[in-house]
Amino acid sequence: MLLYALKRLVYVLPVAFGVSIVCFLLVHLAPGDPLTAIMPIDATAEQQAQMRAAYGFDKPLPVQYGIWLFKVLQGDLGASIASGRPVASEVGRAVGNSLILASLATLIGFGFGTFFGFVAGYFRGSPLDRLASVVSILGVSVPHYWLGMVMVIVFSALLGWLPSTGAGPGGSTAWRFDWEHLQYIILPAVTMSAIPMGIIARTVRALVADILSQDFVQALRAKGMGEWPVFKHVVRNAAPTALAVMGLQLGYLLGGSILIETVFAWPGTGFLLNTAIFQRDLPLLQGTILVLALFFVALNLIVDVLQSSLDPRIQRG
Amino acid sequence: MIIGAPPAPEDRDRGGPGTPLLDVRGLTKHFGGKGGLFGKAKSGVVRAVDGIDFSVAKGETLGIVGESGCGKSTTARLVMQIIRPDAGDILFDGEAVGSQALSLGDFRRQAQMVFQDSYASLNPRLTVEETVAFGPRVQGAKPAAALAKAHDLLHRVGLEPRRFAGRYPHEISGGQRQRVNIARALSLDPRLLILDEAVSALDKSVEAQVLNLLLDLKRDFGLTYMFITHDLNVVRFMSDRIMVMYLGKVAEFGPSEPIFEKPGHPYTAALLSSMPSMDPDHRTQEAPLTGDPPNPIDPPSGCRFHPRCKMVSTLCSQAEPRLSTMGEDHLAACHLADPQSGHPRLAAA
């Protein structure tokens, strides 16, 4: 188990290294250099050169990467060009907010997805199964940013039950777990849960149907074993894979929340990315993406190791 | 219109009838053994083929038998250069394969192979005639000529082109598929045909038909066969000479009849006694072979057969027996066949 974890870690490190290179190069994809956007229009060539030197953009790329990586490893993601504040602290606050939203969405999606998938797998071919298939295909096909708008239209504009945007009455900073704040998270979380719900329903349906069709389950039933032990058996065998899918979905939601966070003005990483892009604040963009991608890599690793400890048969070479 | 005529045998028989068509010396292939992650988890070396010598004379059928995992299929793939040998020489009609005189391409035009799995060895997206015409097309034949040749060969292997040429592999039976594979192998006018368990997956009645077809084709096309199987009845029916393999080594080699009548290696004897025979006179009293062959990653010391051998002595686990002459052209790798070996049972006899 520990050995397997170490082996996976050794495998993941080069990937993390590659991720850092991609994030670093991202900034250099941009036309011009990262300073063009904020440079005063009337800056002289000399002033421009000075500013480049101050940010280190005058050095060759590999050297810049080395310096950047060295700082990143110490937790220094540089300073935001727009606000001048350290990127690390900005990202840290935003990740916290995103994590709350994404976790809640994953839980909702997992709950309903498992339910639909279980029902569909248990009663294969029944109308319930077809309904569950429809729900899951709707879940993966819907443009979630549009679903967010529809939610706002229905529950906020038409019914007036829930607030449409923001993270609470006190703005974006003072999140608390009380109703006053929680009502702000309901719409974005439900919207966001549509995708994992569809995917988890699909996975669980296939798992349950597969387990039920195994010979020894048929044998248990033939011997007059009640439905309860069969049900327990199915749960025990479906759980590792279902949980793994859930873990990965959390990672996807965290990294893919930008559109929904924009719709609901939720002060998370997506919102931060949006700001970074439109202010052409490339260090902020780079830092946010690096943190999200590394978080995703780490989550993958954890899911992988946990899954193999639940079910030792699932070990990747 | 006269097509499908292979070059007259005398044109291609460069070495003369005395030179074996295939001469293999010291053929060796070990699998694995490359270091794992950081060279720590070193995986074991599988000694699939471990220094074997044999030859196939022109026009004969050499049968190769042994249990699964003994290296017989690997030997076939090594000869065809599908996998590269670690060591050893392969001479075809007196010339080294891959040399100036005989390039790999030249060799492959003259040696072809039929695989065990009739379905996996046919491209599911090609029709029967496309499969058979592929080789001639690759070798530069015009489409119409290649197609005509394919139809001729299909006819020769007993598949009426009108009915079968346009079919896909999943639409025909296993026996028919294997006939297609044989036609495909013959499409390059080879001199040597390697049949790797080519009939093992077929039903007994179909197997017999295909075996008879192979005998007819051998006569009509002047072929030489290397016939690999685990079925002793089949090998006896087909072969002039037989090579028995055990764990990557040659256990016994010789003409078919002496080997069946008077096996020189206890392993061959055990194989024969486990074989169902219709003739009570041929039923031996010896116990059939028990257990599985040992792991080729870590083969036994000395004689590789000694843990399963009834005639075992302490010598057998210490010294590896050499191939000793039993009779004319008959060799066995057993201390009992070697008068100088010092095996205690020799003294008793």
């Binding site: 080069p14 991720v19 529809v150 | -």
Partner: protein
């Protein structure tokens, strides 16, 4: 002795079996859901192509006096947008860019990803390992994040949006292509072709492509739905098409201000994205079903 007079057997009119793709087509035609999805896709594509001839109004000319009319207003069957332009017209024109920007990345990625994956798998060895490790790096980014990061760095624009999405999909398709090619190239018929003296290019053309392009193609069609949602999403964020071009994602964005006045009109562009995306998903499912029946 082996020469045969072929005049008796030469090239008889052989019975032909139905080819693989013909049988896939036949099964697909019997799948009502897939055919309905295909009909909807064709309808949307046709409306987009023929928009200049059949659209009732000018997609760019609006009237501030007639802004945000409700669905069903005479002269505005689907209402009007925040600048008073006819919604039906703009939805028809919008399909042009939305479909183009959603489908093009998948086509480009199908070509590039298949090339990379098949090459890596066929060559094998360390080349394959290196290529697959690089692909692993791209898999470390959730696709939405990677798409937005790339377009964010490249800047807004139609071309940049297409480039970003292509980069997102190439590794995904390459991974599938690598897997099916590795599976195929180890089958005996490839060995048999090799010992017939065929070179690598011939083997790939005759024996590999025919067996791997099908599964890769099905996977690629399943990505069109994702690509439609993502490319409209980029425009929704302001990273794709720039106003006043009609494009569903961008229209959805500019109509956000109207959700309190004309909620139904505001939601319409999203309905188009949804319908297109779900149709591509259903069609892809049907295609997979039709192809999986037998090898």
């Amino acid at each position: 002795m082996a020469a045969v007079d072929l005049s008796a057997v030469a090239i008889p009119p052989a019975e032909r079996s139905e080819g693989y793709w013909a049988s896939v087509l036949r099964r697909l035609r019997r799948d009502p859901v897939a055919m309905a999805a295909l009909a909807i896709i064709l309808l949307i594509v046709l409306a987009a192509i023929l928009a200049p001839y059949i659209a009732p109004a000018d997609p760019f000319r609006g009237s501030m006096a007639r802004r945000l009319r409700a669905v069903g207003t005479p002269g505005y069957p689907l209402g009007s947008d925040e600048l008073g332009r006819d919604m039906l017209t703009r939805l028809m024109y919008g399909g042009r860019l939305s479909l183009f920007m959603g489908v093009t990345p998948v086509i480009l990625a199908f070509i590039a990803g298949s090339g990379v994956g098949i090459f890596a798998a066929y060559v094998g060895g360390w080349v394959n390992t290196v290529v697959m490790r690089v692909i692993d790096v791209f898999f470390a980014f959730p696709s939405v994040l990677l798409a937005i990061a790339l377009s964010g760095a490249l800047g807004a624009g139609i071309l940049n949006s297409i480039v970003s999405l292509t980069v997102v999909f190439v590794p995904q398709i390459a991974r599938i292509a690598e897997a099916v090619t590795t599976q195929t190239r180890n089958r005996d018929f490839v060995e048999a072709a090799r010992i017939s003296g065929a070179g690598p290019l011939t083997i790939v053309r005759v024996h590999i492509l025919g067996n791997v392009l099908g599964p890769i193609f099905v996977y690629a069609t399943s990505l069109i739905s994702v690509s439609m949602i993502l490319s409209s999403g980029l425009s929704f964020l302001g990273l794709g098409v720039k106003p006043p071009e009609p494009e569903w994602g961008l229209m959805l964005n500019t109509l956000r201000t109207a959700i309190y006045n004309q909620p139904l009109v505001a939601a319409l562009p999203g309905v188009m994205i949804f319908i297109t995306s779900i149709s591509f998903n259903l069609f892809s499912d049907g295609l997979r079903g039709a192809m999986e029946v037998r090898q």
